[in-house]
Symmetry: C2
Subunit: 255 residues, 2 copies
DNA sequence: CAGTGGTCTAGACCACCAT
DNA sequence: TGGTGGTCTAGACCACTGG
């Protein structure tokens, strides 16, 4: 294939996708320009059309290009989607945006799982979890309180970490705990007493909440987390298209 | 192919995907069970492995099954992802969850676009937009205030609609305006005076905000909307995996 | 080691768009 | 009507998992 796309390792279609992403975000085809034909691109990269289409599918999902039968692909924008890993790890995310992450472990206890944890972590009632509460900071400023529950198998590893450890997901990966899938639910919730104390906000004031259940590659839950962000500190962004959507909106019970 | 999957129209891989989705959510393989081999499934449906893999890719994106080299696919859960159309249209969404949607047009004006609208709708400075403010209700209860701006081309159609029209996207589709891509940003924002009045909440209280830019199949913006939800009424849900992610988290400017 | 999903190829035909 | 992306096929080889 063309020399400019040999830079990184991994499957061919990913290298092609990265090269195309670079070309698009650098403006080679203009802000709303047309891409060359699939046949032309395949010839250029010296790959089959199937492989090229795998590459384009990535850019399609990221919202970088359109795709429509009968017409050439059009540049949609310069979306900068984060990797799965960056989305899960506060530490990796912070560093990827050039900010210095900080963490303060407020508490870490081992106790029987409550009913919500049993359901989310698929545990038998009575099983034990490790429940951690951490304050997260960006450049020293409090941003988020993280309530995370781990099943015993995972939690025992977390418990061995030093109190001032910044990244936990790194450590877990070293012990063979891989995160593969996550389901996120985003809404608004009032601050409880602990949130208020750690974040220096009024009790009952609104926080942006992200609830997240992460599973490994076998579908076994490895983490259940409720992250409470101070308003105005972060926003969540999702791309969506006729071709693929993993986003939905839920009605919550009226109280 | 097998008779049970001839029900719907459309491409073969979609019909296979829907049949498999049905099989999985009905529990045929168990809550965390293994799927048959790709080869077996392809034989069962009498399709090529490539087509079968297209079907499985859909279920993968929806978070229904895992996929990992060397092992069979495992049932992850029974995620119920909404269609793109349901995600965009309040009316379609409400009906899909069995609730009766209502709408009250608060104002609809034609005026020059402000700087944010120019950027979001890719308009020349000075171009005109139609700006609508609508109160949305579920079963008669106020849920959300929608601030939507349309470029003139689209807005002139919206302006022709009766004041009590519930669904606008239906009408636009009839006039050849198709929604193809959307970018969503979700965060928390204080209620302004108008929000407070329409939603009967205190001014300055927190609302869940969804900002959305929708484009047609040529990448041309057709809608820019800021939806302000009362806390506790809705939540947004996204699935995410090592294989594909269209989700990211942004830091907002500190004020 | 055998089984399984991941990657890649080469070619065919079709549906849709613009002209 | 010609160009383009969407769909589908048949086959090959590889990387990884698990016994």
């Amino acid at each position: 294939m063309a020399p400019e796309s040999d830079r990184t390792a991994g499957p061919l279609y990913r290298r092609v996708a990265e090269d195309l992403r670079q070309a698009i975000t650098s403006g080679r085809y203009g802000p709303a320009g047309q891409l060359p034909t699939e046949a032309e691109l395949a010839r250029h990269y010296d790959v089959s059309r199937g492989t090229l289409r795998q590459a384009l599918a990535i850019l399609r999902t990221d919202g970088l290009v359109t795709s429509r039968r009968g017409t050439r692909r059009v540049v949609l924008g310069t979306a900068r989607v984060q990797s799965f890993s960056e989305m899960l790890s506060f530490t990796q995310w912070a560093r990827s945006i050039g900010q210095e992450p900080g963490g303060l472990l407020h508490s870490l206890v081992r106790r029987p799982a409550d009913s919500i944890e049993c359901e989310q972590l698929r545990l038998e009632s009575g099983a034990e979890v490790y429940a951690a509460v951490r304050l997260r900071t960006l450049a020293g400023t409090p941003v988020m309180v993280e309530h995370t529950s781990y099943p015993a198998r995972v939690g025992s590893l977390v418990a061995e970490l030093p109190f001032d450890a910044v990244s936990h997901s790194d450590k877990l990966r070293q012990h063979g705990i891989y995160f593969a899938d996550a389901q996120h639910v985003i809404d608004v919730v009032p601050a409880d007493a602990r949130d208020a104390k750690l974040l220096s906000c009024r009790r009952g004031s609104s926080l942006l909440r992200e609830r997240r259940r992460t599973t490994d590659s076998n579908g076994i839950p490895v983490e259940w987390s409720q992250d409470h962000y101070l308003p105005g500190t972060v926003a969540f962004s999702v791309h969506n298209s006729h071709a693929s959507s993993s986003l939905s909106r839920h009605a919550r019970r009226s109280r």
